[in-house]
Symmetry: C2
Subunit: 455 residues, 2 copies
């Protein structure tokens, strides 16, 4: 590789090594710093060190994987896994990164900005066009993994009650769209119809997951307390109503309020009003989505969808940049934090539990195969159906949240989700996250080639 | 004011009010959210709410003050004071904002980005040119407030020992350059010679403050322990050496390492490498500055100074934007958080302590008059000397840190800095922060008018 032959790089890395050593020497000095009369410092220094390590790792990882023709996001994940597991080799300087709350928040804001950016690429109208397809994809992609997961539960935990099996099925349902969105962006396919169908399906998927979680957790709580009072259908309806109200509310904001909102912003003096007003829409909808129980990224995506140039034409006429251009630098700064940190949270020790690996492998296969049912929902032959199934594969946060709730629910004196089941879910999440970027890239680029050949 | 006549605005604000009410209803629901089966949420929602309130307040405050021909930053501070003191009227929804660590970190990153941005406007060479002037300004601006503060201590606390008086003098020395930098930026004067002298002086000022703090705290600790072992001159030299080494190191990085560093970055694939590499320089120097006991913003400013276009010419030739353009959106997002939060930390109750107000008033006058000595250090009549004295007025963090350390040091059975002295320092910090923006703006714009008339 060309850059490795660059002699200057060695000088550079050597100097950086010395600098890093210097930093660490001081860092390990810790409390001594305050004694020596330092007037500054505090928690911000820890975060700065984390940002330095993460940004550098992200760029090096992204470069390496792009050389292997893989999406940059996979490089960020892998670098994160390396950083997060160096403690296995006795190097535990990076361990505090995992529990640093400000870093977690920066990562979360990063993925919110990413989905906002992705939403900006589409309009509500375009999403409506693929609405039925997205809905079908979401429904198929929830039903198939649910029953497959149920089956896996029966197979591996035959002595457990049906509720436990149902819970495993439920944990396999919800797609985590961050990875897919990033891959689509990395390979320049965010504007394809496939991308829009996947993103729309992910939103609906999130609503369905919310309902399933409420129902299943409600039934189990009722069974555990023996009261027989399950979750009422009124409660389920209220959960659905809140989510739907949110989506409808967002569209109403988009069509009715935003033009007036930007008109108001336009008369405000001071710099940065335009970008700030766009960020406000993003953060408000992300916040409200979170408050109704949806993922904040669903709100951020909706915010991106409803923002249209016609609403802020005044700003554009004044010579302001496009929202996309203004958001890009913020995304460059914050988005990699999310993916590197996601990699850091992967605990490789999980993979050494041999007795769990079989369960995990079958569960992972169920999770992957299950989402391939999505392609059955697409009747239009011009669409790359296979890519849609692949794009729906990643499970993340939601699967872990399901498993976490299950671990806390007690039935017949032991938790619904045992620690080995939990580990299997974790492995499933890791594997589905890591297989998606290369698979999706190959499928979309091959599909493109085929189309070109047919022409 | 024109925008108030805009009927649509009322509709808009009404709708936003309903939305806010909706959010708050959910927010106050708190724990109930998890019970209802929400799959998402957590600490990020709190931060999102804070960002919404702060960004909106910043833009509204900035607009209002610009209409009164004041710098936008003053509006951000005032809106912060309002938000931070609404609890006095029984509305305490915003109280958690003050203790939210992730928000504090976002604010700190904001001011780091601001000083990086300001540093980018100058080069090391330009700073060298005003180096002597900056040095003299810093020295005068440290000595005068130090002795004035000492005198104020004798006047108001005659029964206390000399060490206490010295401590009060020390707390008045260090300039907090964030406000001044932002005002200079708001009024478009960041490129003037006056601006460069002030910024250079603030860096040197920070080093001097560090040394004074070490010496004074060392002497008091020694006096308190009765051991007679004060801080040794070797220790003081080491503190100075670390700070100077840092500054020299930064310049060496700039001239020797950065060209190779950007050459290395240039061969990396993936998007956002250029901006990431610039941010890495900023964060690394901010981190190292913090580690040697200087303010992280001094490091960020140095990072901005040493970055020159010639180092990253390759990127520019490839069509990348200027660093300044890429940093601007990040600054628009994060910088207001710092100033609104700074306003939020102002506790208006402090001003109701009548018995302290006299002490505070005299201390504030000493702090302001003291820095006017800076203008005596400037012999060049073409420079607006008055503006330089005004630009050095703001005291912030460092004054509070001094006072905080003094509050923890015990001498003759009671703290060196009593709670009333501490309150007086707090009032001094608030007033110097708030008077600077209007005073500096008037002075610089009037000076400009005069120059134009003379032509």
């Amino acid at each position: 590789m060309r850059f490795l032959t660059n002699r200057r790089m060695f000088v550079l890395l050597a100097v950086m090594g010395v600098y890093a050593g210097y930093s660490l020497a001081f860092a390990s000095g810790g409390g001594g710093n305050a004694d020596s009369g330092a007037g500054h410092g505090g928690p911000v220094l820890e975060v700065l060190l984390e940002l330095i390590v993460i940004l550098l790792a992200a760029k090096l990882g992204g470069d390496l994987l792009e050389r292997f023709k893989q999406p940059a996001v996979l490089g960020e994940l892998i670098m994160g896994i390396v950083i997060g597991n160096l403690h296995l080799l006795g190097f535990d300087l990076f361990e505090p990164f995992k529990v640093n709350v400000p870093l977690e928040i920066l990562a979360e804001i990063g993925v919110i900005i990413l989905l906002f950016e992705v939403g900006l690429e589409s309009t509500v109208k375009e999403m409506m066009k693929v609405g039925l397809a997205s809905f079908m994809v979401a429904v198929f992609g929830v039903i198939a993994p649910f029953f497959l997961g149920w089956g896996v539960g029966i197979l591996f935990l035959p002595e457990e009650s049906t509720l436990v099996h149902v819970f495993i099925g439920a944990a396999l349902t919800a797609t985590s769209v961050g990875i897919t969105a990033r891959v689509l962006q990395d390979i320049g396919k965010i504007n394809t119809r496939e991308a829009k169908i996947i993103l729309g399906a992910a939103v609906i998927d999130d609503i369905l997951g919310l309902v399933i979680l409420a129902v299943v957790a409600g039934i189990i709580t009722a069974a555990a307390s023996g009261s027989g009072d399950g979750i009422s259908s009124a409660q389920v309806l209220w959960i659905i109503a809140k989510a739907v109200l949110f989506i409808v509310g967002a569209i109403v904001i988009g069509s009715i309020i935003l033009p007036a909102y930007f008109k108001f912003g336009f008369v405000l003096r001071g710099k940065g009003v335009f970008l700030s007003f766009c960020l406000l829409v993003c953060f408000l909808l992300a916040f409200l989505a979170g408050k109704v129980g949806l993922a904040p990224i669903v709100g951020a995506f909706a915010a991106g969808l409803i923002l249209e140039e016609v609403q802020y034409k005044d700003f554009r006429d004044r010579g302001e940049h496009q929202v996309e251009e203004l958001i890009a630098p913020i995304a460059i700064f914050l988005v990699p934090i999310f993916f590197v940190r996601m990699g850091m949270m992967v605990d490789l020790v999980t993979f050494t539990h041999v007795q769990i690996l079989g369960f995990a492998a079958v569960m992972t296969v169920a999770a992957i195969i299950g989402k391939q049912a999505c392609s059955l929902a697409i009747f239009d032959r011009t669409i790359n159906r296979f890519a849609i199934g692949l794009g729906m594969i990643p499970r993340g946060e939601v699967g872990l949240i399901f498993a976490g709730i299950g671990a806390k629910l007690v039935l017949d004196g032991h938790p619904v989700v045992s620690s080995s089941t939990y580990s299997a879910v974790v492995i499933m999440v890791i594997v589905t996250t890591l297989v998606t970027p290369p698979a999706l890239k190959v499928s979309l680029l091959r599909g493109e080639k085929k189309k070109n050949n047919e022409k």
